[in-house]
């Protein structure tokens, strides 16, 4: 195994590999920054390019797109409050507030550095611990996943804001939205009102753009001092080393949370970013600053969502099983090269696998350089005259919603969620629990259904005899929720200012 590692190290040191990684990183960043174009789409479209390249060139190219794309999604989240992916939701909370304060450049730098720190640490961890991780992955089945998803919802509800009832109500609405469409297990239509377009459920992207970005646009017309009107048309300074150091504890914590979540199949970046953010706010001596333009908030979300990347590769490389769509495309790239990932590949061509893992780590250095150089270019967006910027943002909102599934119906959805977002803001309801309820509702329902199918009508016996892990999480859930809620209440008492503004 050591020998394979060093052979792999030698194979990884190729100029053309790093050129293709750079191209991948840059195009990933550009595509990720365009609302509506997902990293997944970019990888699927550019997959055939890798068919005609050597494995050690083609697969790193796709990895570059993946890494660049996830960071790219945080660019519109920070600049115009438009999360391009679910993973960037937590980034909008503080990132956009920083832009409004004229510190967009600082926020983008922080996003880049914490993303790369999270990514690199989790990649190195994966490289060193690949076999232990593979064993841990096997401990998580649908019952454990269902319990963890439920725990995540409880944590989000307990920490959502000063008024837990409002948060719970929004989450319930979000959960209900997630049930609209075809029941994921039985295949029965629910709440579709006979509309065919609703049969495949509510699309995520129009919801995200609708509730997060449209209220910002609408507020421009009501508020003359708004950022988009031109109050803060400055790029601001770059990030200072001292500021990075200040957030370093948070970045490390988020990296650990993200890596841990990456090990559990089926959770992913959205949950990681939310949990990283929640943990940072919970640990902070000044939690009231979160959501108002706290650099640490950006760092917490971004380090966590990128730290997921490393461990998600483990089931693919050790068993040949893709855990999500991104790894499914990577699997395609491997097999098109005649390499079928799995236990046998590690035996026969371990050096190739190590070479790819090593490039994954080294690509982060390129990522740092390319990201740092291109941030000034992206940040310039905020200096565009508002008479041009506002129509542009509206155009991207509409086009982004449409392009995702090429369905005109999704523009109606965008309008619906935009109105919902505006009403929620006026009534001082936070939309975050709604979105999280929507995103986590479907996998929770699915995992719950799977658990029930596995138990075959005998849930209690099943839990007591076979699934002690699930039982432990279920018992711990109310305790953790109560503890967090108490902490939140204590922390928030001294400041009487409402958290929603």
């Amino acid at each position: 195994m050591i020998e394979a590692f060093f052979t792999g190290l030698g194979m990884a040191m190729r100029v053309d590999t790093f050129i293709m990684v750079s191209i991948g990183l840059f195009s990933g960043m550009l595509i990720g920054a365009l609302p509506g174009f997902t990293t997944l789409m970019a990888m699927a479209i550019l997959l055939p390019v890798s068919f005609f390249l050597e494995p050690i060139v083609g697969i790193p190219f796709l990895l570059g797109i993946y890494k660049g794309g996830i960071f790219g999604g945080s660019i519109p989240a920070i600049l115009v409050s438009m999360p391009g992916t679910g993973a960037a939701i937590a980034t909008t909370f503080d990132g956009y507030k920083l832009t409004q304060k004229g510190q967009s450049r600082k926020a983008l730098d922080m996003a880049l550095f914490s993303s790369i720190f999270g990514d690199t640490s989790s990649d190195i961890f994966t490289l060193l611990m690949i076999f232990p991780i593979a064993l841990i992955v096997m401990q998580f089945g649908p019952p454990e996943l269902a319990a963890i998803l439920f725990l995540s919802l409880v944590i989000i509800a307990a920490t959502a804001g000063r008024n837990p009832l409002k948060g719970l109500l929004m989450m319930a609405i979000g959960l209900w939205f997630s049930m609209i469409g075809t029941d994921p297990i039985g295949g029965v239509e629910r709440f579709t009102f006979g509309i065919f377009e609703l049969k495949s459920g509510i699309p995520l992207l129009p919801m995200l753009i609708g509730v997060f970005a449209l209220p910002e646009i609408v507020s421009v017309f009501g508020d003359r001092s708004s950022h988009l009107r031109g109050a803060a048309k400055v790029l601001g300074e770059r990030l200072k080393l001292a500021e990075f150091k200040q957030s370093f504890r948070t970045i490390c914590r988020s990296t650990m949370i993200g890596t841990g979540i990456g090990v559990i199949p089926g959770l992913g970046q959205v949950v990681a970013a939310m949990m990283g953010y929640t943990a940072a706010r919970n640990a902070s001596p000044t939690p009231e600053k979160f959501g108002k333009g706290e650099l640490e908030g950006v760092a917490a979300a971004e380090a966590a969502n990128n730290a997921v990347n490393g461990p998600t590769m483990v089931p693919l490389l050790t068993l040949g099983i893709p855990g999500d769509n991104v790894t499914a495309i990577l699997l395609g790239a491997f097999i098109a090269q005649g390499l079928r990932p799995g236990p046998e590949l590690f035996e026969s061509q371990g050096s190739v696998v190590f070479a790819i893992l090593i490039v994954m780590v080294l690509a982060n250095i390129l990522f740092l350089a390319i990201g740092y150089l291109s941030i000034p270019f992206f940040a310039r967006i905020v200096t565009i005259k508002s008479s041009l910027l506002i129509p542009m943002v509206i155009m991207f909102a509409v086009a982004g919603s449409y392009v995702f599934r090429s369905d005109v119906f999704d523009i109606l959805m965008l309008a619906f969620f935009g109105i919902l977002g505006v009403i929620a803001r006026a009534a001082r309801f936070d939309v975050m629990p709604l979105v999280m309820g929507f995103i986590l509702g479907e996998p929770l329902e699915y995992a719950f259904g799977q658990t029930m199918a596995m138990a075959d009508g005998n849930f209690l016996t099943f839990a007591l005899t076979e699934r002690h892990g699930m039982l432990a999480i279920l018992i711990a859930t109310p305790l953790i929720g109560y503890w967090l809620w108490r902490r939140m209440n204590k922390a928030s008492k001294p400041s009487p200012v409402d958290q929603l503004s």
Partner: protein, 321 residues
Amino acid sequence: MSKMNVLKSVLLSAALSLGLTGGLSAADYPEKPLTLVIPLGAGGSHDLNARVFTSVIPQYIKQAMIVQLSPGASGQKGTNEVAKADADGYTLLFSHNYIDQLQQHVESLPYDPLKDFVTVARINYAPIAIVVRGDSPYKTADDLFKAAKADPGKVRMAHSGNWGALFVPAAQLMQANDLNFNLVPYKGGGPAMQALLSGDADMTMGFPSTLSSLLASGDVRVLATAGDERIYPDVPSFSELGVGGDVGFMHRVVLAPKDIPQDRLDMLRDAFAKLNDDKTYKRLMSRLGENIDYMSGDDYEKLRADQAEAYKTLVNKITGG
């Protein structure tokens, strides 16, 4: 002269505009890129197969073929898009037999598969295999069937979704042998295989092309494979177990809206037939581990009609108790 030219161009444009619906079209078709709708998600076997043939077929149709993934509602979303698209030969569907012919018996669809679609070509097919863990107590398919019969619901079978490519063969086996597996759904074949390996499930199904590495390492064993002939020398085929016919095959097919002009359909069918002799296509497909068992559109149409009947019987038996 100039009058003649004007007259010519007027006539020509008139002919062209008529040509969009009439018989003159073959020479001009295709004049813009074609769209291939896949009603399934990114990274699946349909996506991969399509990436391969759409990167080779432009040589034969002289236009690009653009893949558009349109997953949702168990494949109905993408299928409906093509059903409602203009039947001008610019929008095609890349689907499989379960979405195409089985779903109509399970749900009410906004389209009628046999009336709304016609086959361009069957690209290839994949036979399914019954898979258990390497250390499983079930050594043969017979052991497995006996256990499931003795204690219905005892054997947990992980599949990739109701009425999907792993569920249907299992249902067909259950029906033929009068037994019951405890069917647990997963989001795709990958997670189902992971459930088998982690011990959450006792059996699953898988395509031999995806199993090679796990078979070689001894992590899984194959108990039977679909079809009349054996794929592995020491593993029985479904026919030997008494389940013959078109059971456990996933046919990957390119379909077009039924009203497509005949000359355009012929042109497309011809192009897909030519793919079979293309070296790049063969090389890339064999790397994917997929076969190149092309079947002409006409031949597959007969198979489709049979499938519609067979699936109807199956669904009635399974859901009727």
